[in-house]
Amino acid sequence: MTEAAAGKKVIVKVQRQAAPKEAARWEEFALNWRPSMNVIICLRDIAENPVTSDGKATTPITYDSNCLEEICGSCAMLINGKARMACSALVDSLEQPIRIAPLTKFPLVRDLSVDRQFMFESLKRVKAWIPIDGTYDLGEGPRMSPEVQEKGYPLSNCITCGNCLEVCPQVNEHSGFMGAAIFSQVRLFNMHPTGKMHAAERLRASMGHGGIEDCANAQNCVKACPKGIPLTESLAEVNRDAWKQALFGWLVG
C-alpha cells in the first residue's frame, strides 16, 4: 500500500479510433497504481476519469468485456503487442508504458472493440454441432470412455476469443482462412460417438476456400491460446482426415 500511497503511477497508451473509417491515434493515461490491477481495471479507471496524461479531456474507451475471468472470450486485445485477454493481463507483470490496441484481423468497431462474427459464421460452415433428433426425451446419450472425454474436454474449452486467428500469418482479408479454433471444433465433434456419424460432412466443409489446406504450420496459434488447447494437434488431425476423406472418401461412400 505504501507504493500506492506514494503516488506510484501506471502509464497506459491506448490506440483510439472513433469509428471504422476514422483515423487511429494514440492516447496516454497516467493511472494510480493499486495492487492486483489488471488491464480491465485500467480501462475502468479511464472511464471514470477520461483525462489523458497531458490533462486533455477525452472519451471513455470502448472495449468488449463480460465475465472478467477468462471464460467468455470477450476481452481479447493486443497488450504490449501480444494477443491476450485483458482481464487476466496483470499490470505488475507488464512492461510500461502498457500499449493497448485492438486485434487487427477483425473489422474494427471502435477503439478496442472488434467484430468477430467471422468465427461464428465459420462454426456454421463446418457444422460444429451434434445433429440431435430433437429435445424431447430420447433417453441417455451414448456411452463415452473417460479417455475420449479427457481428449474432448480441453477442445470444448475454446472461448472463441480469436487470439489464434490474430497471430496466424495465414489469416488475412484475402485468404478467408478459418483459423485453428474452428478446425479444433471439427476435431471435437468428429471424435464424439454421435458426431462421428457426420464426420465426412464436416471434413468436406473444412476444405476449399479458407479451408484446412491453407494452414502453413507456423504454429503461432497454440502459443497464443489462453486456454492451452492443443491446436496444432487438431490442425494435423483434421488435415490428415480431410485429405483422407477427399482422396478415398468415394471408397467408403
Partner: protein
C-alpha cells in the same frame, strides 16, 4: 392465420433453451442479446448440474432432490413447479449428454456425479469445473444449427430497452438499441420471453458478469410487470476478492473434499501450511458435523462472517478464510477442478494445489425476480414470459448449488412452447403502428435527455456508491435502521442521477450512454430489493435479520410481490404453495 413470431431476450442457458424449443415447433424466433450469445454469463457456472439419477447407488430419488431443494430454500418456493423441475432433471441431463456435453465419465463410460451443498447425495453431473460453459456451448451449437436452417435470427449487440405494450395492456414486441449504431428500433412479436439473468451489478462487485445489471427486469417492472422476492440475494461463501470482480471459487472445491478453516489463534501470521492440524479451526465441520463444508451457501456465508467479524479470526486479521484443497491428490484436482484452480492461479499468482486459497463471500445469485405464474413461466402481462435467473420461481429463500443450471434449462424449456401456444391463440390483429412509434419515441427521448445532460454527476461514481451501499447493508446481515438509511441514500443517488453529464456524447458504440441507461434501471431495482428486505421482519434462507432471528411462518411464509403503481413501489404478499411438503424447521447441524 399467419405464422406467429416469438422474441427471446437473452442468450444464456434459459434463453437458448427457449429459442431451441420455439424453433423446433416450427415458429420463427428472433434472439436478442447484448453480447454474442456464446459469451453469456452462464459460462461462469462452474460446479455442475443436479439430477437425482442415483448413479452411485446411494438411494437418491426425485423425492429427495425435491425435498432438499424446498428445505434448502427455507420453504419459500412454490412447490408444484419445483417438483416438476426435479422430475424433469434426469431427462435434461440425458438431453445435454446427447448434445455432446463433455461430462466427466466413470470407467464404465457413464456420467460421473459429485456432491454439492445442501445434500448428502452424489447428485451433481459435471464437466470439469466449467460445467456452465460446457452446457452453454451445447445449447449455443444447437441454436447455431437452427440459425443456419433459418429458424432463428440472432440480434447480437442489441440491448433491450422496453416492451411495446398496446392500449389493452398486451405485449406486442420490444424496443431495443443497437450497441454499435445506438439506433433505437422496435420489433413486433406475438410473445416475448425474457431470460436476462442476474442483477450483480446493483451490488457493484459480485461474481456476475458485466452484463448482469437487471436493467431489463427493472424496465419491465416500470412497465407493470411484477417483481417477486427481490430481497432474496444469494451471497456465495467462497470467492476471490478483486477490484473489478469477485471471482467465484466453486462449491465443487468442497464437493471434492475441500475444507474451510482459519488459524485458531487470532492474527496468526505463520504461513498456512506450517500451521499444525490441531491449531486449525475447521469451523464448518465443527459447527455442522453432518453436512460439514457442504452446508448450503447462506449458512456457510453467515458462518464465515461470524468468524471474521465476531470471532475476529479472519486470516491475519483480514476478511478472508482458507479454502484448502492441498490434501487432495493433484491428479484428482486437475481432472475435476482444473478450471477454477487455473482462475486462482492466474489472478492471484499462487498455486492452490500447493497453498490454501484465501476466499471471502460475494454477491452471487438472484433468487427473486420477475413474477411468473406457477405453470408456464407467464408474467402478469399477456405476451410476456420469463425464464432463468431473472424470474423468481424454483429457489425460494436460498438456492442450492447446481440447481440453477437445471432451473434455467427447465424454465426455458417450458417458456418456449408456452409462448408458442399463447401466440397461436392470440385472436386480435396486430397492434397499430402508432403503438410502436410511441414507444420508440419515448426511448429516443430518454437517450437524448442523457446525451444532452449538462449537470456535474458521473454515472460510474453513482454506480460505485450504489454498490457500496447495497453490499454493506442489503446482503448478509440486514438491520432495519440501516435498510432505511440505505433506501434514503438510494433515493439521493436517484436525484443525482438526474444531473448526469456523460463524458461521451457521440452516437457510435457509446458504452457510456448504454451504461447510464442501465444505471437508471439499477437504481429502481435496488429500491425494490431494499424495501422488500426492510418489510420482511424475519430470518429465512439468505435473508437474515439479527433483530428477528427466527423464521416466522405465521406472518412471512409469503411471496413478496412488488408492483409499480403511479411511479412508486408497492409491496403485496401472496401465499406460497406448500401443498406437497409441510414446512418444518430448517437445521443443518443435525440430519434433517
Amino acid at each position: 392465420m399467419s405464422q406467429p413470431k416469438i422474441i427471446v431476450v437473452g442468450g444464456g442457458l434459459a434463453g437458448l433453451m427457449a429459442a431451441i424449443r420455439v424453433a423446433e415447433s416450427g415458429v420463427p424466433v428472433d434472439l436478442f442479446s447484448i453480447v454474442p450469445v456464446k459469451r453469456s454469463h452462464s459460462v461462469c457456472a462452474q460446479g455442475g448440474i443436479n439430477a437425482a439419477k442415483n448413479q452411485k447407488g446411494e438411494g437418491d430419488s426425485i423425492a429427495k432432490h425435491f425435498d432438499d431443494t424446498i428445505f434448502g430454500g427455507d420453504f419459500l418456493a412454490n412447490q408444484t413447479l419445483v417438483r416438476r423441475m426435479c422430475e424433469a432433471a434426469p431427462g435434461i441431463i440425458d438431453l445435454l449428454d446427447r448434445m455432446g456435453v463433455m461430462f466427466n465419465r466413470t470407467p464404465e463410460g457413464l456420467l460421473d456425479y459429485r456432491r454439492f451443498g445442501g445434500t448428502l447425495y452424489h447428485r451433481t453431473a459435471f464437466a470439469g469445473a466449467t460445467t456452465g460453459q460446457q452446457l452453454l456451448y451445447a445449447l449455443d451449437e444447437q441454436v447455431r444449427r437452427h440459425e443456419s436452417e433459418g429458424h432463428v435470427k440472432k440480434f447480437e449487440g442489441w440491448t433491450f430497452l422496453s416492451a411495446v405494450i398496446d392500449d389493452r395492456g398486451v405485449c406486442r414486441g420490444i424496443c431495443a438499441m443497437n450497441l454499435h449504431s445506438m439506433e433505437v428500433q422496435t420489433f413486433a412479436a406475438d410473445a416475448v420471453i425474457f431470460c436476462t439473468g442476474g442483477i450483480g451489478a446493483i451490488f457493484g462487485r459480485s461474481t456476475n458478469s458485466v452484463v448482469c445489471t437487471g436493467s431489463a427486469q427493472s424496465a419491465l417492472f416500470q412497465q407493470g410487470v411484477d417483481y417477486a422476492n427481490g430481497e432474496f440475494i444469494q451471497v456465495h461463501p467462497t470467492a476471490i476478492p478483486g477490484e473489478d470482480k469477485l471471482r467465484l471459487m466453486s462449491e465443487s472445491a468442497r464437493g471434492e473434499g475441500g475444507r474451510v478453516w482459519v488459524p485458531r489463534a487470532p492474527g496468526d501470521k505463520r504461513p498456512a501450511r506450517s500451521i499444525p492440524e490441531a491449531e486449525r479451526f475447521y469451523f464448518l465441520e465443527e459447527w455442522y458435523p453432518k453436512y460439514g463444508n457442504l452446508v448450503p451457501r447462506d449458512i456457510a456465508t453467515r458462518a464465515i462472517h461470524r468468524i471474521v467479524y465476531q470471532e475476529k479470526l479472519g486470516i491475519d486479521g483480514q476478511a478472508a478464510v482458507y479454502l484448502d484443497v492441498t490434501h487432495i491428490p493433484v491428479e484428482i484436482l486437475n481432472h475435476k477442478l482444473e478450471g477454477i484452480l487455473e482462475i486462482y492461479e492466474k489472478f492471484i499468482g499462487v498455486d492452490p494445489r500447493k497453498e490454501p486459497m484465501k476466499v471471502f463471500p460475494a454477491m452471487h445469485y438472484t433468487m427473486g425476480g420477475i413474477w411468473i405464474n406457477s405453470e408456464d413461466q407467464r408474467t402478469n402481462i399477456p405476451g410476456i414470459y420469463a425464464a432463468g435467473e431473472c424470474e423468481y420461481q424454483y429457489h425460494g429463500a436460498n438456492r442450492l448449488g447446481a440447481n440453477s443450471l437445471v432451473s434455467c434449462i427447465f424454465g426455458g424449456g417450458i417458456a418456449g412452447p408456452a409462448a408458442v401456444k399463447y401466440a397461436k391463440n392470440l385472436a386480435s390483429a396486430a397492434a397499430a403502428s402508432s403503438v410502436f412509434d410511441r414507444e420508440r419515441k419515448r426511448q429516443e427521448e430518454m437517450n437524448q435527455a442523457l446525451l444532452s445532460g449538462d449537470g456535474d454527476e458521473n454515472p460510474i461514481a453513482i454506480w460505485k456508491e450504489l454498490g457500496e451501499i447495497m453490499t454493506e447493508h442489503v446482503t448478509v446481515t440486514r438491520i432495519n435502521k440501516n435498510l432505511e438509511m440505505a433506501y434514503g441514500k438510494i433515493l439521493a443517488l436517484s436525484e443525482r442521477y438526474k444531473k448526469i453529464n456523460l463524458s461521451d456524447k457521440t452516437t457510435w458504440s457509446n458504452q457510456t450512454l448504454n451504461f447510464a441507461r442501465e444505471l437508471g434501471n439499477m437504481l429502481i431495482l435496488a429500491r425494490v430489493i431494499t424495501i422488500g428486505a426492510f418489510q420482511r421482519n424475519e430470518s429465512r434462507g439468505a435473508h437474515y435479520k439479527p433483530e428477528f432471528p427466527e423464521r416466522d411462518d405465521a406472518n412471512f411464509l409469503k411471496t413478496t410481490r412488488a408492483k409499480w403503481v403511479n411511479g412508486d413501489i408497492q409491496l403485496t404478499y401472496e401465499a406460497v404453495d406448500t401443498s406437497l411438503i409441510p414446512p418444518r424447521a430448517r437445521r443443518y447441524d443435525a440430519a434433517k
